[in-house]
């Protein structure tokens, strides 16, 4: 297991390097001139001299390979350059906003898993009866719901009409419930349906029949023989949903006045603040890849077939 984890951790290095190369090159391929954007954001009139000077200062007169290597070289010392708009180091600014985003996305993930489990199990236990039908209906609506619209609907119901929850800002748990739910609904619905299907499939297998024949109670069969095997597809799906949860968080933040990286990044995209866009994208890719690594490890841990083959046991 340790060897498996280490090997996967090492694999992160080439992945992140490749991502950084793509990010850097694509941004340079874009139609606009970074020096021009720099001058615009610093409110300097773009005279030829000023452009020349900005190019030299930003290192844009160097060959692109040198620029990339320079950017990369300073990466390990956590120096990702200064933003154009306020001349500040990019990474500390991003790291300042990041915890709020991670907290929101994390709670959304917990909600997605925490609600989809009982729903999926409930639906599988009462197949084709009322619980199953209602979960199906919920999932049916949930996967089509635009998360930013859902955010507003929640505000309408729980803040405007009922006055139970605060509509904006960051604070205690009451602040995080609505945005996290809005982000998680789609993934929650997909997971619930998936768990239902997966549990029904496992229920028909022979080891489950055997467990029943051994006289185990229905609940312990479900818990230790069905659920454990039915979990595997959920783990895979969760890995896929993490990207959606991150994306959803970036959008939802703007509705609930959540002080996360999303709004910082969107304003940087408006301003074409290249160092910020570069660093933001790389950071998000890093988090996403790391989350997927964790998912893979959980999967290997949950599925002995993978764990053992990774350790070389036949």
């Amino acid at each position: 297991m340790l060897a498996f984890t280490l090997r996967r951790l090492l694999l992160l290095v080439p992945i992140l390097l490749a991502a950084s190369l793509v990010i850097f090159l694509l941004l340079r391929l874009g139609p606009s001139d970074p020096a021009m954007d720099y001058l615009r954001l610093s409110r300097v009139p773009p005279t030829p001299q000023a452009l020349e000077e900005a190019r030299r200062m930003l290192g844009l007169d160097q060959p692109i390979v040198v620029q990339y290597l320079d950017w990369l070289w300073r990466g390990p010392s956590l120096d990702f350059g200064n933003s154009y708009a306020p001349q500040r180091p990019v990474l500390p600014d991003l790291l300042y906003y990041l915890p709020a985003t991670l907290k929101l996305a994390g709670v959304a993930l917990v909600l997605a898993l925490g609600i989809s489990f009982p729903l999926g199990m409930w639906a599988a236990r009462y197949r084709d009866r009322f619980p199953d039908q209602s979960v199906r209906l919920l999932a049916f609506f949930g996967v089509s719901m635009p998360n930013f619209w859902l955010g507003f609907l929640l505000v309408l119901v729980f803040s405007v009409h009922l006055g139970w929850l605060p509509p904006m800002g960051m604070g205690g748990w009451s602040h995080i419930v609505m945005p996290a739910f809005a982000i998680s609904l789609m993934s929650l619905c997909i997971n619930a349906r998936l768990l239902r299907a997966s549990m029904l499939e496992v229920k028909g297998q022979r080891h489950v029949t055997y467990a029943r024949l051994r006289g185990l109670s229905e609940i312990s069969v479900e818990r230790s023989h069905v659920l454990r095997n039915a979990l595997l597809p959920i783990i895979t799906a969760t890995g896929m949903h993490i990207g959606e949860l991150i994306g959803g968080t970036l959008i939802i933040e703007s509705i609930f006045g959540w002080p996360g990286v999303g709004r910082y990044a969107v304003s940087a995209i408006f301003n074409r603040d290249y160092p910020v866009i570069q660093c933001f994208t790389l950071l998000m890719v890093g988090i996403f890849v790391l989350c997927n690594l964790i998912v893979d490890i959980v999967y290997a841990w949950a599925d002995p077939r993978i764990r053992l083959s990774a350790e070389g046991v036949q």
């Binding site: 992945i15 490749a18 991502a19 793509v22 990010i23 694509l26 941004l27 391929l29 874009g30 139609p31 606009s32 049916f140 609506f141 996967v143 089509s144 719901m145 635009p146 998360n147 930013f148 619209w149 507003f152 609907l153 505000v155 309408l156 405007v160 509509p167 998936l194 597809p233 895979t236 799906a237 896929m240 993490i242 990207g243 959606e244 991150i246 994306g247 959803g248 970036l250 959008i251 703007s254 509705i255 990044a265 969107v266 940087a268 995209i269 408006f270 074409r272 290249y274 866009i277 994208t281 998000m284 890719v285 996403f288 890849v289």
Partner: protein, 289 residues
Amino acid sequence: MSDLAIERTIAPQWLSVKLNWPTKVALGIIAVLVICAVAGHWLAPYDPNATNLVGRLQSPNAEHWLGTDHLGRDILSRLIVGSRVSLGSVALCLVLILGLGILVGGASGFIGGRTDQIIMRFTDVFLTFPTLVLALFMVGMLGTGLVNVIVAIALSHWAWYARIVRGIVLSLKHRDFILASRLAGATRVQVFIKHLLPATLSQLLVLATLDIGHMMLHVSGLSFLGLGVTAPTPEWGVMISDARQYVWTEPLLVFWPGLALFFSVMAFNILGDAIRDKLDPHLCAEHGH
């Protein structure tokens, strides 16, 4: 050969399909959407951009069925005309994605060898990005605006399709009918267009239909953030964004465009599910994102 298989060879499968009622409703919604997208400007009761500051923020009434927004523009008209942006941008996205996916994935699978390896590693890099983050990044690179958002979304989705096309091409490449056609003197491009493309397209269309709802949500999400459509053009995401400051006083302003988006996405999801169930019960819906 079983009865079912005989029937299948005689009649094209989709002719004998009995539609269940959700699929019928979905098709109805999609038909309405297409009509609105094509003929919206004639169907809309008012000019969607005509402002009327005296009659702003009206509740639904006989003249303005869904009321008016903060500039006095008729909401129903804006919804109808707004379908053009939503549907049109998704259609463009699809064309771009399918084109790129087939070109890159097809080339990769068909040529094989070192080229295949290089191309696939390249797509792998794109798959390490969360879709929306990649789309945001592409908008950052290209600049804001609807066309750029469409290109950005296409560029952030195509890698999945390239992989799938490659898989299909690889699975068919060494079949006898392909070899026979090569022996008969067809060039590689001819073989690809004549034999591989149709097989690929039918599978891709299923996946694409399942993805349409997703793309709609991404387009309007980016527009909602203010990165897509610019001010007067009616678009549902922008309408929600415009209405946000009136949530407390005029909640219906946020409600209508979201409802339109919700129903459209739902219609395409139902259609995608139906097509998948009919054409290929084994195709796994969970292909990513």
